[in-house]
Structures are given as C-alpha cells and as structure tokens.
Amino acid sequence: MTELRRTLARQRYLLDYTVASMSRRRTRNLGLLLVYVGMVFLLASVLFYSSALKHEAGLLLAEAPDIVVQRMVAGRHALIPAQHAESLRGIRGVRVVEGRLWGYHYDPAVRANYTLLVPPADDVEPGTAVIGPALARARGAGIGDVLSFRGQDGTLHPFRIAAILPQESALASADLFLVAESDFRALFGIPEGQYTDIALQIPNPREERTVAEKVLEALPDSRPILRAEMLRTYDAVFDWRSALVLLPLSGALLAFAILAWEKASGLSADERREIGILKAVGWETGDILSMKFWEGGLLSLLAFLFGTAAAYWHVFGLSAPLLAPVMQGWSVLYPDFRLTPAIDATQLLALFCLTVLPYLAATLVPVWRAAVTDPDEVMR
C-alpha cells in the first residue's frame, strides 16, 4: 500500500469517526448548527440584498443621462425653461439635449408614490398610460382599465391603461406611470416651454467635468449633476442602509462568537475523556486535531451552505420579506418586485472567512491544548 493511500484511508477513518461522534452528540450539534445557520443566513441576506439593489441601481443609472441639469431657485429645485436647453446645445462635447418631464404622484388608495414620466419619444396616446408592473399589481389594474387622478386644479383625469411594462427592469419600472406630454402638463399645471430638468448626453466621458463647468458658466442658476455622482449617492445610500442592518447583526455575530468560544473552550468532561482515550490507544495529537478539524469544518461548512442557500432563496426567491422594510424603505411598491440574482464572489469569500475561520480556530485551540497533554488522566 502506498503512503498516499494509507494517508487517505486514515483521513477517511477520521472522517467516519467524526460523523459518528457528531451524531452521538446530536442535540448539541443540531442546536449549534441552527444558531450558526441563522447567523450566516442573516449576514448573507444583507449582503445579497444590498449587492442586488446596487446592481439594479447600476442598471437603472446606466440608462440615465450623463448629466442632468436642474434649475435652482432660492436653493430649491425649480422648473427649467426651454431656452436654457437652447443655450446648452452650443457647448462642445454635448450631443443630445432634451427637456424632461417627470414627477411624483401620491396615491392615497395604495399609500404609495408613483413616478409620473413623459417618455422621451412621447409615444403615449393622450388619455392613456403605460404603467409599471408593481403599480399594476398594487391597483389590481389590467390593460383597458381606467385609473383616475385628481390634478392640481381638482379635476379628475382618467387614464386608460394601454400597456404594462415588462417585469425584468423591475426596480427601474416598478412604479412608473408613463403619460403623454399634454396630459402631464394638464395634470400638474406645468406651462408649455417649462421642463422638470434637462438631460445631456456626452459621448466622451472624459469631457463630462468640463461640460459641467461650462453649463455652470452658461447658466449660473443651474445645478449640473453627473451620473457618476448619482452612482456614488446610490452606493452611499445602500451602504448606509446595509450598515444599519449590519450593526445589530454584529451584535448577533458577537453573541455567536461567544457561544462558539464557550462551546469550544469549555470542552466537556466527556470530550476530554474521549480525547484522552484516543491518545491512550495510540492516536497522535495530529489525528485528534484532524478529527476535530473535520468536525468543525463539517459543521461550519454545512452552516455556510444552508445559510447562504436560505439567504439566496429569501432574497431572490421571496424578495427579502425580512429585510425589505429597512433596506428599500422609500416605496411600498417595491417589495413586490423580484431582484435579479447578483452575487459578488469576494463578498461570499469574505462571509466565508468571517464565519467559518473564526469558528474553526475557536474549536481547535482548546482541543489542541487537551490533545498535547499526557493521556494518563484517563487512568483515574
């Protein structure tokens, strides 16, 4: 028999022994596994959820204009006149300039804000609307149904639903309500020649900063916002929100660490005796460490797998019912949409290191201490 086969056979025996010894202490190991899975589940849920939201936000912003120009009056966002757009057309490096019309409408029926928007092509028939999937679900509305809003002047504006946006671009389109320009102006009382803001397309990203400076020169009352800045804001918001969730979680993590340490450092008299017996019958310190390594490894790996699988299902299958209220918060429509799975390998690795390695260390240290002592104690 070759040395390698001998080593493999030995590890196989140790593994078998470990499995048997884990099932002997079934209740305790199951309890530990449960706590462990729960912790991995929570951590992984937050990670998956925030990175999926970031991913969605990234998609959303990918379609966003390179620069949005707002008009500021007394430090507040105001409507911007069409002439402003004309004066921006001359700036070098700017390809497309268009005025945009959008805003929010609060619907008391579902207690949610809709995002009303005139699509750039203005291809919605007056009197009709194209709506987002979450909104359609919230109102129980289908194609051909009529939704009415009370406009700024108190009159009721009925919209026949012409189409419902597809599900895929959920975060971007969930609460959209697309209307014709004339309807939008009538609903909010915005006169011709006024827009919500102006969008600029800049083919060369390196020119964005200079363009922004020139916009400020041309229109001193304006505020140009770069897409990169919007991205950063999104990131900051999501990071801040995940921090909000991770903070109490770190408490749970700490509790778990203490538990693991307790369990590990307080080797039961039974375990101590078992280690002594194994050493007395000729197991080496290394054999005992291997055995306990298998034990800790199996437990933490199982916990990691179950925990992340459950978190995956929770976040991408069920749309994170446990986290959604904290993590997205800003619209009651959002919990209805499904996130597209987006998982970051480095995050998973970090999670693995954070949960599995400390546990292994915490279990192995005391075992090592017990395993290096002389085995004559079991004689008493």
């Binding site: 056979a9 140790l14 005796r273 007395a280 310190t285 002389d374 004559d376 079991v378 004689m379």
Partner: protein, 236 residues
C-alpha cells in the same frame, strides 16, 4: 516477538516544585521477563497504576529510564510515544474506557484508524479477535449495553487489535466474579503462549497466586519492597 522491558531508577513526582508535590514512584528498578506474566501487587495508593502508565508510555517519568529491548523510550518525542502506544503496548484500563455511543466492533477498531489499514481487513481482524475472546455475538452492540465481563473482553480486544508485544492491564479482575476472573486468567495464559509480555496490576490473590504468573513485584509507597518469583519459590 517477545519484548524486554526494563526500568532503571524510575521516579514520578506529581506537581513537582509545588507545595503539594507527591512522589508516587520513588526509584524503581525492575525488569519484566520477556514473554512472561508479571503481577504488580501492593496496597491502594502504592503507585501501581502510575508505574503502568510510565511503562505504557502514557506518561513520562520525572527521573530515570524506561527501556524497551535496550532502547531508552522515556525521552522520546510525542509522535514516537504515540506509535509505541499504538503498536507495542496494548492497554486494558481499570475502568475499560470504552467510548460510549460506539459499538463493540468500532471500539475495537479504534486504535487501528491512524494506521489506515484497509477497512475490510480491519473489520475481519476485529471480528476474529472478538470471536476468540468469546464476545463475537456482541460485535454490533453499543458498549453501554455490555456486562462487566463483556466490557473487559472488548477492552482486551481493543488492546490487541494492533498486535502489540506487551499487554498491560490495570486491576483486570477488580470488577469480575471468580468465574470471570478465572476466564480472564485463561485468556492471559493464551496470550502468554503466543509469546507476549504481560504486565498486570492486582490486589487480587486469585491473580497473584495463579499458575500462569511468572513473577510478582510488590510496591509500597512507590518503592519495590519484594520481588518474588513464584516458580523459583516452588522449586525450592
């Protein structure tokens, strides 16, 4: 396959350097007849168990030498001691120290795991040993369900699984009635016939006076007070 075990000036001090330091073994010179049966006798607390642990490489002497076939084994590093415990010395503990929750067969196979012996061969060997010791029918039983005699035979089988040259048993008949004690001595005589060196500690006159015993060494307060050779005595 007979092994020669010699002790030279062996001392064992527990809690050395502390106020509660205790000399459990206080200068013992002893050589075990190779392929014979030696009994360590002596009152409770005289150091019998301690001396067995020193010989069986379960603990190290504070002073002195333990030699196996002329080679000093008392100062060897831990992995070598583990190898000796595994393959040269078989140990039957006073309370047997079987691992609860495992079956008889699994307990017997335990010392062979670090060797990586193929599973089928190992199972066969363990089964044959149990058969020979008369507990083959209990192979699949959990050790908690064993009677004292069955537990002892299981412990003996475990001590023999790696075919050691020296078998050490601590108070082997302490929990057994006369019939079972005699059965144990029967097993001892079989092992002696195979050429193994046997070392037993015992209070039990039944063991001390058994015909299979080659030699009785008497301990008191950690010292050897009498070293008797029953065969030589009866020849006188």
């Amino acid at each position: 396959m007979t092994a020669r075990v010699e002790l030279v000036g062996v001392r064992k001090i527990f809690n050395e350097g502390q106020p509660n330091a205790f000399r459990a073994i206080d200068g013992v010179d002893l050589s075990l007849p190779a392929g014979g049966v030696t009994v360590l006798a002596g009152p409770s607390g005289s150091g019998k168990t301690t001396l067995l642990t020193l010989i069986g490489c379960l603990a190290r002497p504070t002073e002195g030498r333990v030699r196996l076939d002329g080679r000093d084994i008392s100062g060897l590093p831990e992995p070598f001691l583990a190898a000796l415990r595994r393959q040269t010395f078989g140990f039957v503990f006073q309370r047997f120290n079987l691992i609860r929750g495992l079956t008889v067969l699994e307990n017997v196979m335990l010392p062979a795991y670090p060797l990586g012996t193929p599973h089928r061969a190992l199972t066969r060997r363990a089964g044959a040993l149990l058969q020979r010791l008369g507990v083959g029918h209990r192979a699949g039983a959990p050790v908690e369900s064993l009677s004292g005699g069955e537990a002892q035979r299981t412990a003996i089988a475990r001590a023999l699984i790696n075919d050691p040259t020296v078998l050490i048993a601590d108070e082997p008949t302490a929990n057994l009635d006369t019939a079972l004690s005699l059965a144990f001595l029967e097993i001892v005589s079989g092992l002696r016939a195979e050429g193994r060196t046997l070392l037993l500690s015992s209070h039990d006159p039944l063991v001390r006076e058994a015909s299979v015993v080659d030699r009785v060494a008497e301990l008191r307060d950690g010292r050897l007070v009498a070293d008797r050779d029953p065969l030589a005595e009866s020849a006188q």
